[in-house]
Amino acid sequence: MREVRTTELPGPGRLAILREPATAALYAALLLSMGLAIFMAFLFAPAERVQADVYRILFVHVPSAWLAFFAFGVVALGSVMYLIRGRARWDRLALASAEIGVLFTTLCLVTGSIWGRSVWGVWWQWDPRLTTTLIMWFIYVSYLALRSYIDDPDIRQRMASVVGIVGVVSVPIVWFSVEWWRSLHPTPSITNPGGGMPPEMLTALLVSVAAFTVFYVVLVRQRMQLELAVAELGILRERLHERNEESA
């Protein structure tokens, strides 16, 4: 019983979580940065010469893509650390990040598809970056599927960690796909100086990326807390069961 730790449970009440100062600060940062990002996306950044206003979808499309990459990198980190250290906390980080990475990959594919419809006239193109992104999406969906198919927590965590490490191979493939194959996607214009993006646009994009990153942190924290609570629930149930067994 010594090994069981439990979280500090906030008291009842709808907004109880906001009483933790770190959480409150995080939510404040989220609101501020999101407000700023929306303002810059619509009012600060100038309209584009060819695409007029529809290009502004870039301000959600690119941050989604960036966060998908980042999240899957965190999955690999959490998985490696879990296999080395064996602490369930690392696995919770990997799981939370994988789920959120899949969410952002989905959003990236959806916004890309909508953008493509308005610019290219089709919902889908067999473009290298689209194709590789779709495969990356499948890989992390299968990571989540594997987790849901294994009942024993320790085995689940170890098997998932292996997939979490192997899966990250897809990230550089998606990233470099535009350089390796001819693509409709532009080559990176942020890392590539003189990439032709007006400075206001670039600033708005960077603010947007920052705001989404704060959102990622909020989501990961919340998802990890959920996983911790679920694990504790299992431990408590087992403890109750053990006690009933012993007293019987």
Binding site: Q51, V54, V110, Q222
Partner: protein, 56 residues
């Protein structure tokens, strides 16, 4: 032009709905699981007084 703005609107809505929907879903589940935790802790603490002879 209005067609383009429609796509823009759909794109942004999809993203915000997706992210906020997920946040609301997770937060709701955290709350549910924590309520259940409270219940179980109550159960675990309550009958302890009634039982005789702790097993250590």
């Amino acid at each position: 032009m209005t067609g383009d703005l429609l796509y823009l609107f759909i794109g942004f809505s999809a993203v915000w709905l997706g992210i906020f929907g997920y946040l609301v879903y997770v937060t709701g589940r955290v709350r549910g699981v924590r309520d259940e935790l409270h219940d179980l802790k109550g159960q675990l603490d309550a009958p302890q007084a009634g039982r005789e002879a702790p097993n250590h």
